[in-house]
Amino acid sequence: MSLPGLTLPGLTLTSTPLSDPTPTATPPRIHDLKEGTEYRFEVPFTPRAQLRLKLTAGTAELFGTELALKQTYSFGAGAKGAVYTWHGGRLEVQGEADEYVAEETPMSVYANVHFALEGMRGKSGGDTGPRVLVIGPHDSGKSSVVRILTAYAVKAGRLPVVVNLDPRQGVLSVPGSLTATGFGGLLDVEEGWGCSPISGPLGLPVKMPLVYHYGQASSEDNPKYFKPLVSRLALAVTSRWEGEGGGMVGDAEAKSSGCVIDTDGGMSTGKGGYENIAHIVSEFSVNVLLVLGSERLYSDMTRRFSPTPSDSTDPVHVIKLPKSGGCVQRDETYMKTLRHHQIRAYFFGHGNTTLSPYTQMVDFASLSIFRIPASTSTTTSSSYDPGADDDSDDIYALPPSLSKNTKPRSRILEPVEVGLGMQNAILAVTTADPGESHEAIRDASVLGYVYVADVDESKKKVKLLTPETGRVPARAIVWGGWPEGVGDLVG
């Protein structure tokens, strides 16, 4: 369970087609899993590594999503995961992997969380289902818990909304994005969540994310940018549940299912205190706060959100959850590979789904690019000057290091020309008109991402990789500076 690494099949996708014949040469290893145990694996980063799992008897699930009997699931280089079984099962494994069977897992606790949530959903009737926020330090298994809770909810016939506020790894999008997605269908065992819409058929129900671009590594780096996006997401989710007004009917099924919110570890160890957490709790009306793997955080949260007699109608339940022994530290190299994989998968697809992105030459002048200033410095910390802030409620604390190096008049966004520095960058095409205010551009959702494959300064042309054919929509384009450029995306 809770290896936070998700799974990374197809990290070497372009070089490793699925028809790779080598894994069949060796006989499969058999793992007979006792009930209540889990098989944990890490596929090495060797180029052609591939792990294939097949459940031949019993039952098993990967982060809550059940494996179908006698179906082969493939995991590419760098994939980490854990197959848990409630009833026992036999796994046939082929391919190289660092693997072991663990007998102690917190799965029953996580399942209990699900049933407790189901109890709240059951009670809600026409009311809104539980809003769950999962916090904890880096690599404590937050995303895995979110996945498990989502998968169980889907299995129970619910339609939970998953809100990803962890810019380190995207959900159905690239890193740097913040998303909200309704989950009405099965999650993808191999890829983690599933697939956002493509122009062809998908083997699993399509997932429809609402995407905003944050463009920084941590929620703490630029709270001035982060918080409005949280509010925006909360507004969208609430509108989905309640309807927009004007006779628009809300999504009752999704509403009674509630939402699960994933966060980045930085928020829980944050420089800015716990302001982001408080902001999320208030914006989403969070009423279940799951704290993973940190006593101190749990203690702080209980103190902060302990129910007072005055607001006893919908108190915040602060729950401490054990961290799984399967959680592993993911170093920066790994995270970088993960990011590149997600970006590659956005353009080229993953697994059996191969996508054909489109390359085109575009005039500099035809693009309206805005840069998020925070990313200008090499350190990934905020460069905002609180004095330039037009928001009155300046509730977050600035890192002390910033006071000496701030610009006198900093803005939310800065219009920039295409330059060599943009080479290999990932740009977010928003739905906002370039003429709109910077706040509007910041708050606009994302249509998609384009990749700067080449910049020709002499001809004033830029070579772009776009997901779809057709010209790049003439919308405001935001460059966050993070995730970093990917060198080898286009051969």
């Binding site: 019993g58 083997g203 339940h317 401490k320």
Partner: protein, 692 residues
Amino acid sequence: MSSALPSAEVAADFKDALGDLRMNSRPEISTLTIIAKENTEHAQAISRELENHIRTTRPDFKLPALYVLDSIVKNVGSPYTVYLGRNLFKTFMDAYSLMDSQNRKAMEGLLKTWKQPVPESLDTRPVFPADVTKEIETALIRFRTAVFQNQQQQARTQRQLVNPTLPRPPAAQWRDTPTPPNSNVVRYAPPATPPVVNPQFGAYNASSDPRLRHQPTPQQVVTQYPSNGTPVQTQNQHIHGYPSNSGSLSELDKLNDDIEKLIAAAKAEWVTRLHDQDVQKRLKALLDLQTILKTQQLPPEQLKLVQLQVAQLRPPANPTPLASSTPVQNNVFGLPPKPPTPQTFQPAPVPVPTPPVQRYQSPQPPVTTPQLPFPFLSTPHPPPAPGPPPLLNLAQILSLAHANQQATPVPIPSLPVWPPLVTNTQVTPIPPPSVTPIVGENPLLAQLRAAGLLPATPTPPPTNNWSKVENDVEMTTASITKTNRPHLINLLYGARPNQCSTCGRRFPNTPEGREMKTRHMDWHFNVNNAKAENRAVHRSWYIGEREWIRYREEDEAAPPESKSTSLALSGQSNGSAPKIEPKDRYVRIPTDVGSATCPICQEKFISSFHNDDWVWMDAVDVGGRIYHATCYHEVTKDGGGASTTAPGRGTPDSALGKRKAGEHDLNGERAKFHIDSGTYSSFIISRLHVTQ
């Protein structure tokens, strides 16, 4: 196998595939059928492999293999009917003689269908020629008669041996049946579940074959085996029956007497079936019971319970009925001789050396991939230990028995399918052995229960009403960290036993659930078809805020009406009537045209995937010719909406300057999202067209 090499290869492939067939799995059987169908030129070799496999595989794997045979002859027919028909008698009877009664019933069901034509087929001839099936039928009748006589004889012996009251005709017990040891009670119960249909595995059943759906199931049509008077007796009859017979003897004496007789009978049986842990355990439990009765004063109500149980135990404690098999049996079926029953009564549970008699053993091949069931999930029948079994102490018996209980919550799974965890509540709630004694229950009863003399646990009868499973988890750290609640896990698994074999999605075992699964499978099928077209696909742009707010996740398994209504609701309630703009119109790509061009602008149509179908967006079909909808609109707009027959004569305003809707692929997204066109264009498109 005298034919050319390819034939041998095909046969070898087929054999491999057969080797993997260990349970009644519809997909596997279909696959094998398809192999057979695609290789009719090698029918002879394949038929021989199939016959060989049926003859040599373990008894529990025989039935699935017979289903393969059934599936092939019904779906492919000739020449397989010819080849397989030649040896059908031998194939069938060899297998039949080694099966347990459940499987036999299934086989009899098969035979019945073979006497009839293939359902929904134009051919009115039976599946197999009448003379083939007739021969088998005759043999079966003789077989039953023989068994019946044998049982009569046994019953008579039994009457003298134990008790004058109500001797139950014992069922034929076969040494290698998967009959679980603790099933004395349930053995005679009517099969609550069909023996071979485990929906979890998508079981193949001759009668669940869609073409056969009008056929009665084997359980319904076949005379129950054994075909003696009352093969199915309920527990209650005995419960009521016994006390009335308690004559002048005091209750306790009578009980002791009965137990003694049972012990004697059990010992006799044990001697003949040394490796049978079933018998051994029963004997041990009886001895324990005797000790307890003699050393302890039991309260009357507990005594009563013990009496009831003992009363029930009497009939199954018979010596194995096959001990003296009749000559008829052996002659007719060429069965290996049964071990003669040494009628010597051994004094006490002392290990006895195995008598050097030929054991009744199925002619198993020299180990074709031993498929031992899983120890941890416990097996329906522990593999018989060779040689004299060691005497087990009570703790061991308890744990053994516990394992057996877990494995057999429902009456006798007759195939080595995975324990039916999904069909019964009793599977998981059974606490581990350390806590086996139910709180407040007499240890004696618990002991009996553990030894399989009592039904597994006094749990409530399995209910299908999963909503009533109590979810007691509170949203508090204490409640959540409080160990696991297996009965709740069943909500995720057992409540939806009907699993899709492709993606693992589960459906409830209700009519609606089955309908959902059908729609779900259709969806898989359509997706796979569409994927097979192998067109270049690309990622689509994400949808905007308002579209996302109005978007509703679609369940591919939901009834079609509810799909459309949710969308219609969301769209229309906005007040904007869904008006189809020209660029949003589409036609299904005609099959007879490769890539056609619009007669007006001579440009090609752009294909895209929409509503599970490949369509040309921005296209309109007018009198059999397909135009770009925008072209057509421009051409005809002067004449208003009247010209529906042919495009007007006017020249397009600007053929060159006109931009196809498809050029802006965003427009196409609307279709894929199933979002009302009005709302979409009111937002994204209007924004996008500002500067274009």
